[in-house]
Symmetry: D2
Subunit: 345 residues, 4 copies
């Protein structure tokens, strides 16, 4: 960490700052120029907040050299993390294809859809049981009954289940009933929830907040890992910008950036980014050759009658067509779509 | 709500859409032009989601005419809401001045500061007990002990207490121990928390999410009000943009916009928007003449030794100077800073 | 265009509005509900500005149904436009690979680099002669001498030339000396320049402004086409968002959106979006499978000694490696990288 | 400038970098830690581009200590600049009130309006003669005839004229016919135009680009000043964000930031930021107490029949009402609205 002291700071103020740096356990490397003083902190600054020094009135700016995340940092864990989702792997050369409806609606449709998705090449099943909706008057999901239906679909297909948890209240049921707990974009900085998930060993699919920087996203992963749970999967689903032609702007550059900074896998959700059907296939293909570790795609048998987000659902036939491209592109990227352990019933 | 049908839609598809609109309880007003068909929905569409129609493949776009919020909507509640915070009023002509430290650190300093703030003209006391911090390694707040200290300060000064609740776990303690429950920017769309707050009758200070549109913010208020709690106070604290000279961009235009759309009060937090001390006084003054219903400002006796966010804290002396301007400007705006019921000890 | 009249409008005010609509040559389709009046404009509204109606105090909102662009609109030109760049085609199934240095520095290096790029598979040569630089103290380009050097490189390789024009002053030299005139992101809304380019028949590579919506970008193309020049190629190079890990956020979703709305080709510049070398190859590949009509990539023999933007230049060897992937992916997408007419010397 | 070298850099690579720094005329202060090397550049780095070092593959990041602007920098010019606009002053304690129509439409209305504005307290007259319009099919302004009309209004009222120049073509007429040349938001980075304005001594009102950082804005001023013209006035008119309730987000925090970084005056244009009438008065008041050096406000006798941007024009009566507040608030801020030299006819 490097501290830039204002040119009119008094010597006594600088010395107070230096003392405080040393009392905090660092060495202070001071460099006085003609017009400014620079102080370098020597030691492990990964856990230091820049604001702890910006608060001094003589400090003009603070530059961070060492990243504020350790457990999520590739520098301290060179190899790609591979996460095991009840037998399906994601990370490194293992590619996750997670598909399913926005909301679980009923058992028959869910089971039928899960079979079609598996046949098309999906290796995990997503389905919303608790739904974060902008309006309190919209359908809020089937709740625990939704999780039960997803489990029936898993029994029939072997597909592990991914579902979103919105708060700490139902965490025990989720640990018991799902294979991956999804944290939605709106909850990426719900630190109470992240801490609670850190106390489990369940894989967590951590969606990027709509206005979260990549560094903040890494810090949210760090929250989960700091609690002892290393099974974090990043999921980019579009960020909020001024552009309104699509719901959000898909930041595919996050793939090479995350893979440089972290050992954790990153998957792409083109459905929520686009918010409209026709944009999804090209972005799913683009994500695959960008080096992403997987995809999450919304599929519904009858999008025009879906209970939520039908405008961004592919049909099973469209998904199957898309998967023919994804299979080829993933293989060209050296990726395997593992589903060997999935029980055929 | 107005639905724009694509020019190549088949008649049978349009009729299916019209039937579904009618089955949902609306009248469909269809207008066929040479090159396009427009369908107007007649009835109360406030609770209808645009996406419920965007999901049809023949629908090109959907325009909302009626706002999706009812209880927060000024149209159905013309007069300004005035909210009572244990005797201190906010809304209409009543101006809230909420000040205090970012984090509560200890009893002596908190009580001393509360006295100074009251003398300077504050009528409510803020203080963080549970702190949302970007890093899991940063100080996370004193927890319930912080609330206890705030109550001691209230006993000494009569100042009602504002403190942030981060999840549903501690809601009962907050209802008992604070006068206004603050929902932080990161939790503005934590719908589980909003629903839980809707079940209480405690005033809620609802901070705007960093990337929340004003309409989404109104919908978060609607969540709380839909549960039966009408005591919602908006708090603008800066939105995330590309500009990095300040931490966030303070959107003061939100004041006239919110006051046009809603009857609920709106207060401004210049401290978090700026993220740096020198920007705060001018923005506090600007907020006051913009018509805002109050201010929330961070103050600390010794910002350079604050445990969090010292870089954006005023000293008590700076706050007192600022209040001399705020008192005059608020009065010019026809506002009263009520603190008559505050017990002098 | 649909006009939403405020609920408290007087009948006489509505009638004035209706008269004005009719005087402007449209039919007004009025629909009175219980609580609001909606007026539809019937006729060709493509050239009408929404603000022409927003200015009425009784108008609450205006919704656009018909797009404000005609010549750039796919609806009136169903087939993909294919643009001829001195023998190299772009658009439809023709894929453009444009590579070269940020700034032209000298003749020998430029010729040598052009040969290497051609061997690697590029079919057009980019090179900056007039450089838009943030600082007035930075190198501003070789000017006309730069164009002369590019022409020498073209003589040696046959590669058509792409170079940026910053204002109307040098337009005649550009028409004479380059094959594609590039309009930079900062000039996307420099309407004087767009109008002047509309008077030529030279292909124009129109970069997206850093904060331009896709609709504004289409309108800038419309400016050029309104003057009579249909040879417009869109180039996405990243938009400005809050994310700082990359210089800009590459909006690949613009590819399917532009291709749905317009018949004009769109190419992707991953170099400027990333602003850093390691992100470029994965995004170039992603762009290719997203359906884009080409790429623009910065290459320099010795990036560490480039006079500008070396941090985002590939070496010729890295570019050659990348092209092996691009060739395969483009072919899978049904695209041809035409360079048959390029003279071998 | 501080350079952070990657941990795996070879000693020979670091030495090459150090040599290049020294060859560029700086001293290199090298500091080797256990896990990283930091190099400080000593010397005047204000004209150095960070990218000149980011281009080295061993460089992980570059931090700028010294600002890249000198002439615009308050550090080298402590006192506020006061700019003389044909007798009307702006800057320091002098407050500019610039009002007028979006577009000049005809002589009679313009003269009549100018008289009303002067009576209400304006001290400069704005009027568009060349209009940057999103659509090529919209009214593009009266051109030079518009400037002639503005001059007639000046003869009648003495109010100096502010009008927008869109390119270098008409610069001579503007120097002759207007008192302040306005550079619009879309042209803030039109460097050819900025350079040409640097060759004049005419005051320039430099609007902030819709997505320009404050630092980029300062650099655009530096372009004009580097040419020898020190008469630059900043004008904030809203930045582009995700919020759509207003046209742009007014960044009032830019006032204290610019005033800290620069000696040049800054005025606020609430009309373009809001894009809607009702938001303007509260923001004009807020701007005044924020410490801004002036206002630019659109006024039209009959906004519903304005040829452009009527939705954001105040009427003369509304402007007069507003000025009663502005006069008081400006005086409270220690500002004078100079118009003593304006000829009364």
């Amino acid at each position: 960490m490097i501290i830039h002291v204002t040119h009119d700071a008094k010597e006594s103020e600088i010395q107070t700052l230096v003392s405080n740096i040393e009392n905090a356990g660092f060495r202070a490397h001071r460099s006085d120029g003609e017009r400014r003083t620079i102080i370098g902190l020597i030691g492990d600054t990964s856990r230091v907040d820049e604001n702890d020094f910006k608060k001094y009135s003589i400090v003009k700016s603070v530059f961070r050299i060492q990243s504020p995340y350790k457990k999520a940092n590739r520098r301290f864990h060179e190899d790609d993390s591979v996460i095991d989702i009840d037998g399906v792997k994601v990370g490194g050369s293992h590619f996750m294809v997670c598909a399913g409806p926005c909301s679980v609606e009923n058992e028959d449709d869910t089971v039928e859809l899960a079979k079609a998705l598996k046949d098309a090449g999906a290796n995990t099943l997503r389905g919303g049981a608790f739904k974060p909706r902008t309006s309190p008057y919209s359908f809020q999901g089937l709740g625990i009954e939704g999780l039960r239906i997803l489990n029936t679909a898993k029994e029939e297909t072997g597909l592990p289940i991914v579902s979103e948890l919105m708060g700490t209240e139902h965490i025990d049921e989720f640990v018991e009933m799902v294979d991956v707990i999804q944290v939605g974009a709106r909850n990426m900085s719900n630190f109470d929830l992240l801490k609670a998930l850190g106390q489990t060993d369940k894989p967590v699919l951590l969606k990027r907040g709509m206005s979260a920087t990549i560094q903040e996203w890494l810090m949210s992963a760090e929250y989960i890992m700091a609690g002892g749970n290393d099974n974090v999967i990043f999921c980019e689903r579009g960020i909020r910008t001024f552009e309104t032609a699509t719901r959000n702007t898909l930041d595919l550059q996050a793939v090479p950036v995350i893979q440089k900074e972290s050992h954790l896998p990153i998957v792409i959700d083109p459905s929520h980014a686009a918010g409209t059907r026709y944009v999804i296939p090209s972005m799913a293909k683009a994500a695959t050759v960008s080096g992403a570790n997987g995809l999450q795609i919304e599929v519904h048998q009858d999008p025009e009658n879906a209970w939520s987000d039908g405008q961004q659902c592919l049909t099973p036939a469209e998904f199957k067509d898309l998967m023919q491209h994804i299979n080829i592109l993933a293989e060209m990227e050296g990726k395997t779509i593992t589903n060997e352990t999935i029980v055929q019933k």
